[in-house]
Structure formats: C-alpha cells, structure tokens
C-alpha cells in the first residue's frame, strides 16, 4: 500500500469517526419541558395544574380525570409542585384546564351556586367527603356553623370531627369551607391563608361580616320574621328580606320554638331535637 493510499485511509477513518461522534451528539437532546409529566398525567399517575384568578388573587389548582384535586395559594409553581406531592402523593404537571372544568370554576367563582364542578376526593374518608360535599350546599353569600354540617350529614355530635375534616379540605374556595363558621358566629380558622382571608372571601361573596359579628357579640344566633313566624340563620337569603319592624332576634332555637316560630325550610336551623 503506497503512502498516498495510507493517508487517504486515515482521512476516511477520521471522517468516519467525526461522523460517528456527530451521530452520538444528535442523540443528546433535552425533550420539551414536562414531557414525561404530561404522559404521567394522561396515564393518571400525575395531576395537571394551572392558576385561576380569585378574590384572593392567583390560586393554583390541580385536577385529573375525576375532577379538581387540589387548590392552594403558594408563592411559586415549584412551591405548588412540592405541596401537591406532599398532599396528593403525586406529581403535577402544567396544563390547560379542560372546558368543562374551566366553565365550572368560572361560574362557581362568579357566584353560581349550581355551577357543575367535579372533584377527586378519593384520598379522603367517607366522613370527610360527606362533610366537604355538604359545604357545597351552603349558598354563595351565606354561612353556617360547624354544628349545621354535623347535623345535616347525620352525625349531630361530631362537630369537632367536622372541624377537622374542613381543616383538611384539599380544595378550599371550590369546596367552600370558608362558609362554615364557629357555632357562636365567630369566623374561625381558614386553611388558605388564615382568618383575614376568610373575611376577605366572605365579604367578596356578599356576607355582611360586620353585621354578623355585631349580632354574634350580642349573642344572637337566629333571626325571626314576625310576618311568617319563621326563624333563620342571620345570613340566610330569606332573613335578608325581613323588614326592620318585623325582625326578631333569638339567642337560641328553644326560645324561637317556644314563641311559636318554625325553622326556615331553606337554611334549616336546628329545631327537631329540642322540640322533642
């Protein structure tokens, strides 16, 4: 083999090696951000998340095929991811809210009590689920005490357990635990940013928080309507229409019942167990 042939062969070898190196480089690629996360969400091993504008500012929400799974205000996407992993035990990946959920959340935040929203509460106990779904029946602009929930779900003595279940609400705002207040009418705790936020969101929903607190300070738990002899929780929409001269205030249901008043059908204040 001549010297000339040798050099040609070396050049070819070098060219081949360069080609092989370049091929290897073409295999080193970063896939689009969250590609695996999106696949996991499609499979159901991860949830999706996005943000929605609410009276409390931007709130992160997560969802999966069953419905909303988590809502929280956090400082960053990363903080929300970490929070979701701790609470749900799954990762979350950024996505666009499906049309049905987008419509539902919009309507709900706009105050539509009948807004259709699905939830994923599979990680909760039956009691926790019953508690949370009952809060969905409290209309926009109204509040109920813990005892009301306990009575309505058939566990009238489990007031404390109701409080615990509400404190664990994974989807505050959309499951409106902020509409549940202490039996004495004080606002009580709030899982999404403390009592100040509870006041903000209730005010935004049209609750006259100052009037409620004034009534509470006077020990008033129910208001009666002298026109039809019914008594209500103070925030019941029926109670708001009572004219000043027909408004009667009650410290407890026993007095109302004794005076011949009957419980409002809409807000369903306590009555049965004391009447018997």
């Amino acid at each position: 083999m001549s010297h000339h042939d040798d050099s040609i062969q070396t050049t070819t070898l070098q060219a081949n090696r360069a080609l092989v190196d370049d091929c290897r480089t073409l295999g080193v690629v970063n896939s689009p951000i969250d590609l695996a996360g999106r696949a996991l969400a499609i499979i159901g091993l991860a949830d999706w998340f996005t943000t929605v504008e609410t009276p409390l500012g931007l709130v992160y929400i997560a969802w999966n095929a069953s419905g909303l799974s988590l809502a929280q205000r956090t400082e960053s996407r990363e903080a929300f991811r970490a929070f979701a992993r701790a609470v749900l035990g799954r990762s979350v990946t950024a996505g666009a809210l499906p049309e049905a959920l987008a419509r539902g959340t919009r309507a709900w935040l706009a105050g539509d009590n009948r807004a259709q929203l699905a939830f994923d509460l599979t990680q909760l106990t039956a009691f926790e689920r019953a508690t949370l779904m009952k809060t969905r029946e409290i209309p926009h602009g109204e509040v109920r005490p813990y005892g009301w929930i306990a009575r309505e779900i058939g566990h009238p003595r489990a007031v404390r357990a109701v409080g615990t279940a509400l404190a664990r609400n994974p989807i505050p705002l959309f499951i409106p635990c902020h509409r549940v207040v202490r039996t004495d009418g004080m606002l009580g705790k709030y899982s999404m940013g403390g009592p100040a936020n509870k006041r903000t969101i209730l005010s935004a929903e049209g609750v006259d928080v100052e009037r409620l607190e004034w009534l509470t300070s006077k020990g008033v738990r129910f208001v009666g309507n002298a026109a039809d002899d019914s008594y209500c929780y103070p925030t019941c929409y029926a109670a708001r229409e009572i004219s000043a001269e027909r408004l009667v205030m009650f410290h407890d249901e026993a007095i109302a019942l004794a005076r011949g008043y009957h419980p409002c059908n809409s807000c369903r204040p306590p009555a049965a167990q004391l009447a018997s």
Partner: protein
C-alpha cells in the same frame, strides 16, 4: 392545609441514581417496576423521556411528531406494564422493549403521513430522485432552525454540520434510518436492535451499513453542492 403524611399514600419519587442506559441502571429500574409499578414507572418516564424524544425526532424530523410519539410510547408502555406480572417486570429488558414500542409508533406515523399525502421523505426512497426534483431541499428545511442537540454556544460551523446531518438523515430510506439511528445515535447493540425492530441481526447490520453509506453519499453531495455554490458566488 397541612400535608398529611399519615393519610396520603407516600408514593415518593424513586430515584434511580444509576444511568438507566447501563445494565446496572436497567436492572435497578426493572426492580423498581416490579416492586412499585407507579413510582417505578414515574422513574422510567423521567429516565427515558430524552432518549425516546431524540430517537423520534431523528426519525420524523418534526418536534411536534416527536413529542406526540414519545408521549404515546410512554402511555402504551404503561398499559403494557400494568398487565405484566411483577416477575415479568423484574426481568424485563427495558431499553429494547421500550424502543420496540417507539419504533412501531414511528412506523405507523410514517405510514399515516404517506397516506394523508403529507410530504413524506419515506416515500422518496430514491435519494437521486430527491435531488432531481429538488425535494432534498424540503427535507433540509424540515428540521426546525433550532436543533436541541446543538448547544446554543456551539460554533456556527458545528451547528451547521449537525443540522445538515440531521436533515440528511431524513432523506435515507425508513428502514435504514431506523437501524442507523438505533445503532449510531441511540448507541444500541446489534442484538438489541434486532429485538427492537423485529429483524434478524444480519439484516439489521446490512441496514445499518447501507444507511451509513447512504448518509455519507448524501453528505458528500451536500458538500459538493456547497462547494459549487461557494465557487459560483466567488465568481460573481
């Protein structure tokens, strides 16, 4: 709401510290799949997303297709794994198995593209024809201007070289491109490629070498054309 570690299932992310492309990494990943399918699969998806995406990108030349096909590969892998007994998952050779799914999807995708009349490079198996009717240029522009394998600070020359290579790879016949990509881009062994593409090793070797020759010819033509262009421009 406080995290409730006692109630929520603690499905923490299994970290596979070893490279999943090494035999030890593959064994660790298979063991993770056998022991906890959900966390194991999460580790698998994270470990393989880049390689699968690179493979589909080199085969299809389209970022969108590569993204969709990678996603679909993972979804199908999950469905299959869910039906496997733990013992089968433990002994699974993950890489050839995973790329088998990826290859099938890439083949279907190529067929679909041909049928729907989209510009298909696979239909143009004859590289000479590609040049004569000028569609070689279309192939070259099919790669998006930013190739993810080219680091942004790379020299212009290196950038152009890799982009050209990626574009020319798309001009060689599909079967050869598959074999060549698995061998030289993905770095798989011949026995693994044979399992992946479902062909005898001899056929695979022939596909790889024919693919390499075609790629080299395409590169030479490209260089000749480039030189010709430079020359005519300097004359002008």
């Amino acid at each position: 709401m406080r995290p409730k570690s006692a109630v929520a299932p603690s499905r923490s992310l299994v970290s596979i510290s070893t490279d999943p492309q090494t035999p030890a990494g593959e064994i660790a990943l298979a063991a993770a799949l056998a022991c906890n399918l959900e966390s194991g699969f999460e580790a698998l998806a994270c470990a393989w997303q880049n390689r699968l995406y690179a493979f589909e990108l080199r085969i299809t030349g389209s970022h969108t297709d590569a993204e969709e096909l990678t996603q679909e590969t993972l979804v199908r892998a999950w469905r299959a794994l869910s039906a496997f007994e733990p013992e089968r998952r433990r002994t699974l050779r993950i890489r050839p198995w995973l790329f088998q799914i990826a290859v099938n999807l890439a083949r279907n995708n190529a067929r679909g593209a041909r049928r729907s009349g989209v510009l298909s490079l696979d239909a143009l198996d004859d590289p000479e024809r590609l040049d004569s009717d000028g569609r070689g240029e279309a192939a070259a522009t099919r790669i998006a201007d930013e190739d993810p394998a080219v680091e942004p600070e790379a020299s212009l020359e290196r950038r152009q070289r890799l982009e050209t290579l990626a574009a020319l790879l798309l001009t060689i016949p599909h079967a050869h491109r598959l074999a060549l990509t698995l061998r030289h881009i993905e770095g798989m062994s011949y026995p693994d490629i044979a399992v992946t593409v479902g062909l005898p090793i001899g056929t695979v070797k022939s596909h790889v070498s024919r693919g390499a020759a075609e790629l080299r010819r395409a590169l030479d033509r490209d260089r000749t054309r480039e030189a010709y262009r430079e020359e005519t421009e300097s004359v002008r």
